[in-house]
Symmetry: C2
Subunit: 173 residues, 2 copies
DNA sequence: AGTCATTGCTTGAGAGTTAAACTATCAAGG
DNA sequence: CCTTGATAGTTTAACTCTCAAGCAATGACT
């Protein structure tokens, strides 16, 4: 079956355009997400001396079992590329906030491990950051809106995951 | 209901921590927005040879009265810094997709003007991009969810506008 | 005319990101 | 053993973004 049963010669040359309300929603989405990301980036840079991503990395490590995660797993959790994580890890290691340890069972593997200094910097900066998130987001949305936002973001994320079902079993046809 | 289970004395040093559902919403928000932004960035880089921001710049210009906007106004529309726009404009000008023209009434001013090549590259890449946005966002959300998302994003953006919200200056006066 | 703060925009350097290439290891078969 | 192909992670170079500093024109005030 064709994905689109259009009588066009080329693969669907004219997609449905965005109508006014869709265009407005999309514009607002872009503005809000840029504003929020920039706001938090600045807040963290100012108060903790690191960009948002680095903070997120430390948080994820701090919540992991022995405060350690394999690089690839960490990248997956954060939805970033391994390359990006690799660079960030180098920086974080330079600052003494994490270390990389060899994985005994797989010599290719590396564990990213939150250091004591890393825990400390998190302890110091977490309250301010949580405050910023709360002030920018949670304090402004009703419980119902929070629920909606959660469902919506879940749907968006779901649609963009490198499909695990296929990715896990590419050799099955 | 007990939003804050800790007997926090005041909104001073210890901010209300995020509870489980808030933490989950925040995590999902971050993942969804990164996934979507990365997805569109890649889509545009692949199909149009430019990052999402550059595309957004061209779109805004194409919708402006004589396909031109003052730099500062354009930066405000896009919620980015003038510096960032300046660098991007240099790139776009290099590629021949826009030009800068002096403002006759204010010799400091510059107009960013969409060039004919710029219109052309937009014409070519817009359908694919709109398709990507539709597929990732609009096709997955019910009308009600779209309405909710619009309201929510409006609220978030409103709270972060640097302009009118100078309400937070308790240290002054 | 002369100062002086402000506005509009650009620049340079350093930090961060990206895609693609690269090293090393693993695992399955021959 | 020795291939072959996948996986784990890093690295390179090109690009983009940020921040702070800079310059020139403007406007207000003298």
């Amino acid at each position: 079956m064709d994905p689109a049963s259009a009588p066009a010669p080329a693969p669907g040359p004219e997609p449905r355009w965005l109508d006014d309300s869709e265009r407005h929603l999309w514009l607002t989405y872009l503005q809000a997400t840029t504003l929020l990301e920039d706001h938090l980036d600045r807040q963290l840079q100012r108060d903790a001396g690191m960009p948002h991503l680095y903070y997120a990395i430390l948080v994820h490590l701090s919540q992991a079992p022995r405060r350690r995660l394999r690089m690839t797993q960490l990248a997956k959790n954060l939805k970033i590329t391994r390359s990006r994580l690799s660079h960030a890890a180098a920086r974080l290691e330079q600052r003494g906030w994490m270390v990389r340890e060899d994985c005994p069972s797989d010599k290719r593997g590396q564990f990213a491990v939150l250091s004591e200094d890393g825990r400390e910097v998190l302890r110091r900066s977490a309250p301010g950051h949580v405050g910023a998130v709360r002030q920018a987001l949670f304090d402004r949305l009703s419980p119902g809106q929070q629920k909606s936002l959660g469902e919506i973001m879940e749907i968006i994320a779901e649609g963009l995951q490198p499909d695990e079902a296929d990715a896990d079993l590419p050799w099955l046809r």
